[in-house]
């Protein structure tokens, strides 16, 4: 893909900086954090200082004041080296911050976004529950209207940053029953569980946030991949949320998160694209250095054709992802293209990382090379923020309309 198709000189400067940062600062520590499932506070603090945790938000709200493509480039370049750092940026920005920017009142933006956009604290999004994933109609967390406040009870699972983060957008049912109506989004705050680490690096905790009593982080998930990213349960036990912290309008939670997820898919597509590229880079490098039977293994058709397929599919993934991002940046409809990019790139990441391990042979199965980590990191791309099956459902509905609605 020619750079001039989507990028300005400034985009290229952003890409260069993030690429340089990822290779120099993240690559050497990625394996260790993966092994220990430890949140990378030190590099996250540096990412905050460089503006990577608020790329598309206005400078007056603490962001970098850049555009959506710059943000997608950031997610993409981070993932070429480490998916955990990339999802930290993506979940914080798209899931943790964009709902407030898109649906919040001016007061809510002023109150919460500066902490998030400057990376002073991490944000997250609480939608999924044990009985409600893609079928958000199953949301069982209840919010009872008490006049000037709501009282929330229930539990969320698989919430990125539930432990390390402090500001969350969460959904709860304000009208009893089942179904998509009657779901409302709230802004809640709870202190980070890593107070010591946050204090040591100087980011991650803001003492002056309006803490929501009764909100707490639960069990940390022991995951196959994205291990340096923090994923936990988020519990509400008679949590008192002031009415001012209803995000936008009561009852609009379902519509809001559908929109948030539409855009979120472009971020996940960029992450998966980065993973695929990172694995391809490793495979190409290894195949050009490893000799068997007196020649470089890249010289064997079995390997060179695998690399040719990877390169071709990555090119397709780039065009899908950046086209979807371009549509969003220009305010055009992008539901179909975002789902297509996410579906294609997540499956691309899986195929490519598996092939990259194969190209490395026995070495690829060891932790001496990053491709085994990349292969583990790839799987969740087909699951998180809507499984591949859900993407196909979204795409089918977009292209067939009423026919599939039955």
């Amino acid at each position: 893909m020619d750079d001039s198709l989507f990028f300005t000189d400034q985009h290229l400067q952003v890409r260069e900086m993030v690429r340089d940062f990822a290779r120099t600062e993240i690559a050497p520590i990625a394996r260790q954090h993966d092994a220990e499932a430890r949140f990378p506070w030190t590099t996250v603090k540096r990412m905050a200082d460089l503006g990577m945790l608020g790329v598309p938000w206005p400078e007056e709200l603490g962001g970098a004041g850049m555009d959506y493509l710059s943000y997608i480039l950031t997610v993409h370049e981070l993932a070429r080296v480490d998916a955990s750092h990339s999802i930290t940026c993506s979940a914080h920005t798209t899931l943790g911050t964009s709902p407030i920017m898109d649906f919040g009142t001016e007061e809510q933006k002023r109150r919460f976004v500066p902490y998030l956009a400057a990376g002073k604290v991490l944000g997250g999004f609480g939608l999924t529950e044990p009985g409600a994933g893609s079928d958000a109609g199953g949301t069982a967390t209840m919010a009872v209207d008490k006049g000037d406040h709501y009282v929330l009870n229930g539990s969320k699972i698989f919430i990125t940053h539930a432990g390390v983060g402090e500001i969350f957008i969460v959904t709860a049912r304000t009208t009893p029953g089942h179904g998509n109506k009657g779901i409302t989004a709230f802004i809640v705050c709870k202190p980070t569980v890593d107070a010591e680490a946050a204090a040591a690096v100087g980011t991650g905790h803001a003492p002056d946030l309006p803490w929501t009593r009764g909100v707490s982080a639960g069990k940390k998930e022991d995951k196959m991949g994205w291990r340096a990213s923090d994923t936990r349960e988020l519990h509400f036990e008679d949590a008192v949320v002031p009415r001012e912290q209803v995000l936008g309008e009561v009852g609009k939670g379902f519509v809001q998160f559908l929109k948030t997820l539409d855009s979120g898919r472009i971020g996940v597509a960029a992450l998966c694209l980065g993973l695929a590229e990172g694995a391809y880079d490793e495979a190409r490098k290894y195949a050009s250095q490893r000799k068997q039977f007196g020649r470089y293994i890249a010289g064997f058709q079995g390997v060179s054709f695998a690399l040719a397929d990877m390169a071709t599919e990555i090119e397709a993934g780039r065009l899908l992802t950046y086209h979807a991002a371009w549509l969003k940046q220009h305010g055009k409809p992008h539901k179909l293209e975002a789902a297509q990019a996410k579906l294609y790139c997540s499956e691309l990441a899986m195929r490519t990382t598996i092939k990259a391990v194969q190209v490395h042979g026995g070495y690829g199965y060891t932790t001496d090379y990053p491709v085994e980590r990349m292969m583990r990191d790839a799987k969740v791309g087909e699951i998180g923020e809507g499984t591949s099956e859900i993407q196909r459902l979204v795409i089918a509905r977009e292209i067939l309309g009423d026919v599939v609605e039955g």
Binding site: Q10, Q13, M17, L50, A64, G65
Partner: protein
């Protein structure tokens, strides 16, 4: 404090070098260009000195083709205040010709400090900085690895063979930066945004007469494959003999 920092656009150090059809220059197709890494130390030092002094100006100066504006923008994104491109289709191989153009630009600038990288990683001249110092009649300290400035005077450390040399000098001065002088910053996204709005002046260079030209470029001979003589103490005498007579390193 007013500081000039002279930077050069060079091919990325990971470039696989191909020689152009003229046999005397680099084939630039597909080559990525960067700021010469030693110049990054110079830029970082300039920014830190300006900020420590509580104000002043850092002016980034480059001589090179139009594309060197990117290199200057990178310095502006790191925090330099403005850029000057002395636009030349090609950077002459004659270091003195380049030094004259830079000296002419810097002469009346009222700079307290003029910084360079200790060398450009493409031509390895190590020459332009000291030549500019000579042309401006300023003291020059090369390959500075540690720097202290106070009250119009400076103390610099230079790593020399087997030790460290400490030198004192008066300001204004010309210094060239060694690796390790500092840790160059990444340009923050806000810096990249701000760089767009910073002034970047493009003007013709007052190049000196070019008396040195690159006549030819050649790639180094390919490294020959190594040889394994065997294992264990028995092969040591043979290894020593070959190191003496064939490799001639003993």
């Amino acid at each position: 404090m007013k500081i000039a920092v002279c930077i050069k656009r060079v091919p990325d150090t990971e470039t696989r070098v191909k020689i152009a059809a003229d046999g005397a220059s680099l084939d630039e197709s597909g080559v990525k260009f960067i700021m010469s890494p030693y110049d990054e130390y110079a830029v970082e030092e300039a920014l830190q000195r300006r900020d420590k002094a509580g104000g002043g100006e850092v002016v980034a100066v480059a001589l090179g083709p139009d594309a060197a504006q990117e290199t200057l923008r990178a310095a502006l994104a790191m925090g330099a205040d403005r850029g000057v491109l002395l636009k030349a289709e090609r950077i002459p191989a004659d270091a003195l010709a380049v030094a004259k153009a830079l000296a002419a630009e810097l002469k009346d600038g009222g700079y307290d400090l003029v910084l360079f990288g200790k060398m450009a990683v493409d031509d390895y001249h190590h020459a332009v900085g000291p030549m500019v110092a000579e042309l401006l009649g300023l003291p020059c300290v090369t390959a500075v690895s540690k720097l202290e400035l106070e009250g119009g005077k400076g103390v610099a450390e230079r790593e020399i063979e087997g030790g460290v040399e400490v030198v004192e000098f008066a300001l204004p001065a010309v210094l060239t930066a060694e690796k390790g002088l500092n840790t160059p910053r990444y340009p923050a996204l806000k810096g990249i945004m701000a760089a767009k709005k910073k002034p970047l002046e493009v003007k013709p260079p007052a190049l000196g007469e070019v008396r040195v030209v690159a006549a030819a470029l050649a790639l180094p001979p390919e490294r020959k494959a190594g040889r394994i003589l065997g294992e264990g103490p028995d092969v040591v005498p043979e290894l020593v003999r070959l190191l003496r007579t064939e490799a001639k390193v003993l």
